[in-house]
C-alpha cells in the first residue's frame, strides 16, 4: 500500500535526493510532501495526512527536534513514524531524538540501502 511521506530539510537538494533514494529503496511511495523547516512541516501536516516523516535536525525557524516534539505532542500525529536524517551524528543529539520518540536515525551521507534498512519493519 502506497505511503505518503513528508520530507523536511532546508536544502532542496537533500529533499530531492531523499525522494530519489526512497524510490531506489523500493518504498511504495504515495504522495511526497516537502517542507523547508519545522514551521512549514507543521503547516503541511495540517493539510495532508502522511504515513512517514523524514526530517533534518539543523534547520532555521524550527529545528527537527522541536518539530519531533510538536508531532509527538499532537494526538493526531504522534503515531506517525518519525526518522531523523541529519549530519548531527553526535551521541547527545541521537539520544535526544530517540528520547523524544524518533523511531530511527540516518546519518548523512547515506545510501539507499541504509534508508531501506531503517524503514524495514516501520512501513
Amino acid at each position: 500500500m502506497p505511503v505518503d511521506v513528508l520530507i523536511v530539510d532546508d536544502s532542496a537538494a537533500i529533499r530531492k535526493i531523499l525522494q530519489r533514494v526512497l524510490v531506489q529503496a523500493e518504498v511504495p511511495l504515495g504522495q511526497v510532501v516537502e517542507a523547508g523547516d519545522g514551521v512549514e512541516a507543521l503547516a503541511r501536516l495540517k493539510e495532508t495526512k502522511v504515513g512517514l516523516i523524514l526530517s533534518d535536525i539543523n534547520m532555521p525557524n524550527m529545528d527537527g527536534l522541536q518539530l519531533l516534539n510538536a508531532v509527538k505532542a499532537d494526538d493526531g500525529l504522534k503515531s506517525v513514524p518519525f526518522i531523523m536524517v541529519t549530519t548531527e551524528g553526535g551521541t547527545s543529539k541521537v539520544m535526544e531524538a530517540v528520547n523524544l520518540g524518533a523511531v530511527g536515525y540516518v546519518k548523512k551521507p547515506f545510501t539507499a540501502e541504509q534508508i531501506k534498512e531503517k524503514l524495514a519493519g516501520i512501513i
Partner: protein
C-alpha cells in the same frame, strides 16, 4: 587539536561524503597550515560556523566548473550555470563534510554546534578570520579541478556555546 588531526578528520569526512553521495573517489592533494590571509579568489565558497569548547569556521571552496560538476553528480542532472540549485547543493555538501568533521571532533572536544551554511558565488573575493588564527587547508583533486576544505578552530575563551569566531568575507572592487 593539531593540524595533523584536523587534516585526517577533513580527509575522512570529505572522502566519505563524495564516495557515498556523489559516487566520486577523490584524489588527495596537498595539505598545509595557512598563516597568511588567502589571496582573492573566485568560484563558489560554502561556509559554516562551529561552536563549543573550541570554535571556528569551516569552508568548502571550488571553481564554478567543479561546483556544477559536483551538483550534477549529487542531483543527477546537468547544470549549465551556477544557479540556486547549485548553490543549495554546495551548501549541503559543505554541511555534510563539516558536519561529519564536527562529529569526529566531538569525540575529543565534547558537544559542538554547527551553523546553517552560507554560500557565496562570485569573483575576486577574500576570506579572513577575525581571530587571525591559522587555517588547516586540505586540497583534493576532482575532475581536473581542485576542491579545498579549510578549517580554523581555536579554544573558546568561555565554555558557553557562542559564536566567538566569525569568518569575514570581503568583495574587492577592483
Amino acid at each position: 587539536m593539531t593540524h595533523e588531526q584536523l587534516t585526517q578528520m577533513i580527509g575522512t569526512a570529505t572522502h566519505d561524503v563524495f564516495s557515498t553521495m556523489l559516487g566520486i573517489e577523490l584524489e588527495d592533494g596537498e595539505s598545509y597550515v595557512d598563516d597568511a590571509p588567502p589571496a582573492p579568489a573566485e568560484g563558489v565558497l560554502a561556509l559554516v560556523g562551529l561552536a563549543g569548547t573550541w570554535a571556528g569556521s569551516g569552508t568548502v571552496a571550488c571553481s564554478a566548473t567543479l561546483a556544477r560538476h559536483i551538483s550534477g553528480q549529487l542531483l543527477m542532472q546537468e547544470f549549465q550555470h551556477v544557479d540556486e540549485e547549485v548553490l543549495d547543493a554546495m551548501g549541503e555538501v559543505c554541511n555534510m563534510i563539516l558536519g561529519n568533521v564536527k562529529t569526529l571532533l566531538e569525540e575529543h572536544l565534547g558537544p559542538m554546534g554547527l551553523s546553517i551554511p552560507t554560500v557565496i558565488f562570485g569573483r575576486n573575493f577574500t576570506t579572513r578570520s577575525v581571530a587571525k588564527s591559522q587555517w588547516s587547508v586540505v586540497k583534493f583533486n576532482c575532475a581536473g579541478e581542485v576542491l579545498e576544505v579549510h578549517l580554523c578552530l581555536v579554544p573558546s575563551r568561555e565554555t558557553s556555546v557562542t559564536h566567538r569566531h566569525p569568518a569575514v568575507l570581503s568583495l574587492n572592487n577592483s
